[in-house]
Symmetry: C2
Subunit: 353 residues, 2 copies
């Protein structure tokens, strides 16, 4: 089993020697084949194949003072929200020479700071970062960055360079308004914990209810403010929203406040858990209990009854962010600094009575 450094690497010089050409010609044949004559290209390709030459991208990056890596920072990979953003990013990078690098900050500012520092040391072609909650140090690093920086999945007037997203406050407000319009009056709120984005949804929920004179803090279940982070191990799927948690929250609500008639869950998976709790207790949805989620994953429509949710432009955020990176790298205008993609309140049976 080879471990390291088994002799010299095959370099571009070896290829050039074997092909009987200069190194620059090989270099060009690799990157701009159109600038090399057909015959030489053939000879060079053969030499490359014979020697099993692998270009060293570290050397290339050093010599050309840039790389083809676009870094994408997301707070979680176990929540499909950001998986879809990433999918958009990958779809957006196709037919370009760029490469995508995913970084998982795990909802930790310290980790995010370290990662951004490490990314910058690699001279990335672009950076796509989730949300607007960067620490001052992160923000400073990103402002100083010599490459396109796109924020996604949130909204602000003052992006670092450009933001593509939507307003969580407004999304929370509109879904809550839908519940009010549907005739619900004692509307609870379930969340595992609040960060900038989920906190925005809560703000919107609260604002809508206060306007209607219906806000009741006792109906808000945030479990604990911030998730515990047991020694060493950071945020993981056991600590964030789970169906089991949603079920437990609904059991608790049914016990504590039998008068509650609806719940706005901060996440779809909590809503699914709440639905199962109602199923097992024989509480009819939507008659006795309205249930709404957030994200509109595919299982919301498939559930019985189908669950209302807020559809957000996850894929589009990733896709548009990557296109913006590409446009700026190409020297084209990359459009307005603030792009609000909006969202859809999807009304289904679970909130229709």
């Amino acid at each position: 089993m080879p471990v390291r450094k088994s002799g010299k690497q095959v370099t571009i010089v070896d290829v050039a020697t074997r092909a009987g050409v200069g190194v620059m010609t090989v270099s060009r044949a690799l990157r701009e084949p159109s600038k090399v004559s057909k015959e030489l290209r053939k000879v060079i390709d053969k030499a490359i194949a014979d020697l099993n030459y692998i270009p060293n991208l570290n050397a290339r990056a050093l010599a050309s003072t840039r790389t083809d890596n676009v870094a994408v920072l997301v707070p979680s990979l176990t929540q499909n929200i950001f998986s879809d953003v990433i999918r958009g990013v990958y779809d957006g990078v196709e037919d370009s020479a760029l490469r995508v690098e995913i970084f998982n900050t795990r909802y930790s500012s310290e980790v995010e700071e370290e990662q951004i520092a490490a990314i910058l040391r690699h001279q990335p072609a672009g950076i796509i970062v989730s949300g607007i909650e960067q620490t001052p140090a992160c923000r400073e690093m990103l402002e100083r960055a010599q490459c396109p920086v796109i924020q996604v999945m949130d909204m602000t007037d003052a992006p670092i360079q450009k933001i593509i997203g939507f307003s969580h406050v407004e999304a929370g407000r509109q879904m809550t308004q839908h519940l009010i319009d549907a005739g619900y009056r004692k509307i609870a709120f379930f969340a595992r914990w609040l960060n900038g984005r989920s906190g925005g949804r809560f703000q919107g929920y609260r604002a809508a209810l206060e306007t209607a004179g219906l806000f009741d803090p006792d109906l808000v279940d945030l479990t604990e403010g911030e998730p515990e982070r047991p020694h060493g191990h950071l945020q993981d799927s056991q600590q964030i929203s789970t169906a089991a948690k949603g079920r437990a929250m609904m059991y608790d609500l049914l016990d504590r406040r039998p008068d509650a008639d609806a719940v706005f869950c901060n996440t779809d998976v909590l809503a699914i858990g709440a639905l199962f709790a109602c199923n097992s207790r024989g509480v009819s949805v939507p008659e006795k209990m309205g249930i709404a989620g957030f994200n509109d994953f595919d299982y919301m429509e498939a559930a019985w009854p189908p669950l209302s949710s807020v559809r957000i432009p996850r894929w589009q955020c990733g896709y548009d962010a990557m296109l913006a990176v590409r446009r700026q790298l190409a020297g084209e205008d990359f459009g307005p600094a603030v792009v609000d993609l909006g969202f859809d309140v999807v009304r289904r049976e679970s909130t229709t009575r």
Copy 2:
């Protein structure tokens, strides 16, 4: 908005000049602070802060002919299976200087090939790759790689260097045997499509039923052999298993084969969809229809009734793989080439009658 190359970069030479020391001392202060005297360290740190120096990792990688990047290739990010593997990898990398790079092959061999080639050009510290289905070209590249290569989440006698996983065939067999033991006789199989791993589960299912003399090909619903890949866009969450698909498959089964009494779903999310279908048709689970899934995500236990599934060591695969990489890099023995972590058949109400 800065675009590129705004003047010279701050280099280690600038720092050395400013601190009044040699470049090597700065280099050492950065990587092995213990080998530099306290006083100089202080002066150097100040110079670094003053100049806002950012070490160029591309240059470092070139000079030292290695990097600290461990590449992790997974076929999907929208399926939590691999998210958990990745979480294990991240937990395993803590307290080391290594960095994790995630690559999404999207179930495409061509993409995987390109990515492996690109990864090797960067001289990674290690590679963790999902499954054993690499193309011959991939396999050759990985065998030639000058770094630890760990395969995870499957099983074979002939790993590239080392494999950490479990047997999908055996898992499929045991869950099917559990259904037989529970008294079910007409056991259907739902899958969206079959790859090496899901195909293994199907093999196990078939073997168990054939042994019991119960196999009925008409009860197997594989939708279509391979998912379509519409122009340009690769595999995405809309094409793989979804709850809506599981629901549709169950509706179809109930219509076509009213005598079917159980289903083994290749994925938990299909099982959830099947459950919703039964809910909406008033088919009682587990009495009229047993339902089992695969993966044992948290919502299986939270469902009503709780759904049986196969718990697989997702996190452990990632964690152990990263530890194996670290051990080999440290020059320690990295244990047996084949590590079978096993799995658990989790029996819940949905298959208990």
